[in-house]
């Protein structure tokens, strides 16, 4: 796991699949990287989408962490 210091390496940041800005979440059910706005839009559509578990991405290396959105 990266320790959060991004001095040594340059990690490529994943971009949100809908709006191409920086992604901060990963939805396993949709298999998609999303930013918070798109995640709100997508997963508020119906109760089936709301059930999806999304996990936060590490701010430095953009890999899924074990932290998930608590809603």
């Amino acid at each position: 796991m990266c320790k959060g210091t991004n001095h040594q390496h340059y990690y490529p940041t994943t971009s949100c699949e809908l709006c191409k800005s920086n992604a901060s979440l990963y939805c396993q059910a949709d298999d998609a990287f999303l930013c918070r706005k798109c995640d709100k839009y997508v997963h508020s559509a119906n109760f089936l989408a709301r059930r999806h578990v999304r996990c936060m991405l590490c701010a430095t290396c953009s890999r899924p962490t074990h932290t998930s959105l608590s809603c």
């Binding site: 089936l48 989408a49 809603c71």
Partner: protein
Amino acid sequence: MGYNCDYCREARSMVYCRSDEAYLCLSCDRNIHSANALSKRHSRTLVCDKCNSQPAVVRCVQEKLSLCQNCDWESHSGSNSASGSHSRQTLNCYSGCPSAVELSSIWSFMSDSDNKNGQDSACEQEMGLMSITDNKSGQDLLVPAENNDAQNVIQQPDPNDSFTFKTSGTKGSEQYMDVAFCDDFSMDEVDLSIEKYEVLFGVGNNDPENLFAQDGIDSLFGPMDTSVAKESSTGYENGFQPACSNAASGDSLRSCKTEPNPCYRTQLSNISFSSLTGDSNAGDYQDCGASSILLRGEPTWSTPAHDSTTSSGIRNDAVLRYKEKKKTRKFEKTVRYATRKARADVRKRVKGRFVKAGDAYDYDPMSQTRSY
């Protein structure tokens, strides 16, 4: 789950969405998966005709049933050699928003079945349900004319469809609020926990100084003097909140359950619990209330003789610590971790040193050597 559509709970479920993990009828499937670009990507598959509770994986041509793995195994393996020879086709998944025509072309076996006998009830249902309207284009879709009586034309007025969209939209907007609230709330919780962590550990560092300053080291290791405890505790009890009273050690621990400080101190509690609770109250005070700090702070730092910033003070502290640790020295052979000893006992060695598993060794404790 299973027989009825998970969304409308009215119609029978026809397809299973793997991403949403939900059984849906065709109308709801279309509504839900046309909402946004991500849901269009979900792959859906038919539901088992026999058990209606699992997604189907194969289609038995002879029986004209879509079966899940379990039902397929049950009906086609086992003792039945006749049924074991049924030919089976794998079922395809679909994604996106296909029209009824497209769906029937994917599952072409549906249109081939039972033209002679008249429709099976299941097949008829399927074809009837497949004539769903297209929300966007507003066309009425006709089932392919290959089926004799499957000329169902179900015309749902557009307001109905838009109505369903609207309700889901309003629900969605409500949920926006909840999601936003939840999101922010969760982030705040994270921040809170981090702040508390620093505060608590900041307090924890100060405590050894307090311990030395107030009662000296001997109090840590002395006998359990309840009189000493009472002196230190009564001094602090004046401003105390009732929750933090020193009447019972358990109370002081319970009052600040979220802090690890009590846990930190329970390690030392075996030695001298009474004096420590007096000191832990000092630590608790810094977290419990600002007003109490005024009462507490003065007795802690009012004695310059115990100040540890001067060089003689530092040396004094070091000497006292050395003398105390000297009392607990033990020169016997001690094992700190039994599991590590167990591991070390079986490792191969070369000249008494451990070697990696694949390397050469000249002593293996596992091999039994006989000495006579």
